[in-house]
């Protein structure tokens, strides 16, 4: 069969540099690496004895020697280096690497390494398929959803890396999942956080990774107490609807006027309200408490200074 002869020829071409690199390998390991039987490898090696460069004297033939335990190539002729990628292989590798870098969180040590390898490979290989023809975007939520669902079904715990968007810090936490909830298009995990010793809600979007672990011996205590909250008074202009829509669960209108409304809002993290007010770009003004009001002004001057110095 023609196809078999060609595929076998390819295996022979690959065998020589492989043995060069793994000099002394056994017939058994060689057969395993190439996914063929011991007999086939023996036939291949015997055929390689006959192959070489034009002239075909002992000087030009591939020179190898073998017994069961060791195969050695004495002279590979011009088959000393591994064969290049085919276009199919290069494509398969590119798709796989672009997917791998996508599912590795930016900032994780592997992310940069994968990125560097992609550059290394793409600068060494010229491809007919341009950069823009391949891309991969992972469904991050789906990736963490699987272990979460398993944990809920099997009453296991999870070790998650969670990004706190307000404080901008990611931390590793051990949690006992209680339920998955959907809240305004956001998927949330309610869980007892063993690390913080309290009930917490996590937005799936910010769970960077989730790993199943055995349920810890610590009891899931329904300790509702979170950080004590503070009350803030906010003026929201009539055009600042974005803020109200995002936070209507925790705010209460206490006065309204022609150019906006005054709200009382329950704040759990001062850092959050500072950022949230600045994000409104002038549509939200915090009147009380004064300490936070000052923090907002300070944050704005620092930011403006940065723009002045390096922006």
């Amino acid at each position: 069969m023609v196809e078999n002869a060609a595929l076998r020829a390819l295996r022979l071409l690959d065998l020589v540099p492989f043995i060069v690199r793994n000099s002394g390998i056994s017939i058994r390991d060689l057969a395993k690496e190439f996914g063929v039987s011991r007999d086939e490898i023996l036939k291949d090696l015997n055929l390689l004895f006959m192959c070489g460069l034009p002239g075909y004297t002992p000087l030009e033939l591939i020179d190898l020697s073998f017994d069961d335990d060791t195969v050695v190539v004495r002279d590979p002729q011009n088959l000393d280096a591994p064969r290049n990628f085919t276009e199919s292989e290069a494509l398969a590798l590119r798709v796989a690497l672009s997917a791998l870098v996508e599912v590795t969180p930016v900032g994780h040590r592997d992310h940069e390494k994968i990125q560097r390898l992609i550059t290394k490979i793409s600068s060494a290989f010229t491809s007919e398929i341009p950069e823009g023809a391949i891309n991969f975007v992972a469904d991050r939520e789906k990736q963490v959803l699987t272990p979460i669902e398993q944990a809920l079904a099997n009453e296991q715990d999870l070790e998650i890396v969670y990004l706190n968007v307000s404080t901008d810090v990611s931390s590793s936490r051990h949690v006992s999942p209680i339920a998955l909830e959907i809240f305004e298009n956001r998927r949330m995990l309610r869980a007892f956080c063993q690390t913080a010793k309290g009930l917490r809600t996590f937005n799936l979007k910010y769970i960077l990774s989730a790993k199943l672990v055995d349920r810890s011996s610590v009891d899931v205590v329904c300790d509702q107490q979170e950080n004590p909250s503070i009350k803030a008074i906010l003026n929201i202009s009539s055009t600042g609807t974005e803020f109200v829509r995002g936070n209507d669960r925790v705010m209460k209108k206490i006065a309204d006027s022609f150019d906006g409304n005054t709200y009382e809002i329950e704040v759990f993290q001062p850092e959050w309200i500072v950022r949230a007010v600045i994000r409104e770009g002038g549509e939200a003004v915090l009147n009380e408490p004064t300490a936070i009001r000052r923090a907002i002004a300070d944050r704005c001057s620092t930011a403006l200074e940065q723009y002045g110095v390096i922006g």
Partner: protein, 320 residues
């Protein structure tokens, strides 16, 4: 007996690889072991051998021997194209390669990628897998393997496709241009040969087997082709933002960054990274930039930078 052919193919490859100049057919028949029989037989053998080597991805170059004379063409295999251009990968790189190629292990491409891994020295036996998150997904989408093969060979494909909202499937004949994995679904961007237009196909809506044409290299993909121009997920008003971000902060932005590099200015390099990322709109880019105002400085677009500064000034006055 097929081992004669195998032997001849290996000898032909080695001879074409060894020659510094192009070898004419007559020289090949004279010098390379295995070409026997009548002239016609030898010619037929050689044509088939050449096709076999090419179909396995070995590039054979053809050139006229002497540009001044219309004589028979010559053949050779370029060493630098035949050999792997990188021969050293460190242990970490090998484990990345092994993990990446392993993503195909459940698919019809597994034999191919195992072969790749072995040549790289990154087979699952010899390289440590990356300890990671990648275990939860694999390339097992129906049709992905066939389309990758077709794209690599630049061969057209035909398949039955059922458009959203249609009850009937239709036969499509297309030239694949690009593949996009988007949040768990795969999309093919291809030139539809009957509609003479570039179309997007969701692989889950392909309802038949995918037939790959035997003809290779029948079209070219423009080097500036970008499938993001055709996918609605990358909306037109999507804007590209360039910003300086203080090291170790604004992780929410870093997570979606398309590149993170060193700023050009040496004095900034110790504390800042230059990050490019995409935002859905100018409005959402502004809100993001304000949220991270203490650790993020917009470089471009200029209009966004101006708006950030104006907003900060306004908020400062209101709270001063």
């Amino acid at each position: 007996m097929s081992s004669a052919k195998t032997e001849r193919l290996v000898n032909l490859t080695m001879a074409l690889l060894a020659t510094p100049r192009y070898l004419q057919k007559s020289e090949i028949f004279r010098k390379v072991a295995g070409y026997t029989g009548s002239q016609e037989t030898k010619e037929r053998m050689f044509e088939r051998d050449k096709d076999d080597l090419r179909s396995m991805g070995i590039e054979i170059e053809v050139a006229s021997h002497d540009p001044l004379f219309e004589d028979e063409p010559g053949y050779r295999i370029k060493k630098e194209k035949f050999r792997l251009p990188i021969d050293t990968f460190d242990a970490e790189e090998l484990s990345i390669l092994s993990t990446a190629l392993g993503l195909w292990s459940e698919s019809g491409l597994s034999a191919l990628t195992e072969n790749t891994a072995r040549r790289l020295g990154a087979s699952s036996d010899s390289a440590e897998p990356l300890n990671s998150y990648s275990k939860d997904f694999a390339f097992d989408a129906e049709g992905l393997v066939e389309l990758s093969r077709a794209l690599a060979a630049r061969s057209s494909v035909t398949f039955e496709y059922r458009k959203e909202g249609d009850s009937q499937a239709e036969l499509r004949n297309v030239n694949p241009l690009g593949l996009s994995g988007w949040r768990g679904s795969w999309y093919l961007v291809a030139e539809d040969l009957n509609r003479r237009d570039i179309r997007v196909f969701n692989l889950t809506r392909v309802v038949s087997a995918i037939n790959i044409s035997n003809k290779r290299n029948t079209y070219e993909i423009p080097s500036d082709f970008d499938l993001r121009d055709y996918l609605i997920m990358y909306r037109k008003n999507d804007i590209r933002v360039e910003a300086l971000i203080r090291k170790g902060s604004a992780n929410e932005i870093r997570v979606k960054a398309s590149s993170i590099s060193e700023p050009k200015e040496t004095r900034l390099q110790a504390e800042w990274d230059l990050v490019t990322y995409h935002a859905e709109s100018l409005e959402s880019a502004l809100r993001e930039a304000l949220w991270f105002a203490d650790v993020l400085v917009i470089k471009s677009p200029e209009s966004l930078k101006v708006q950030v500064i104006d907003s900060l000034k306004k908020t400062l006055v209101q709270h001063g």
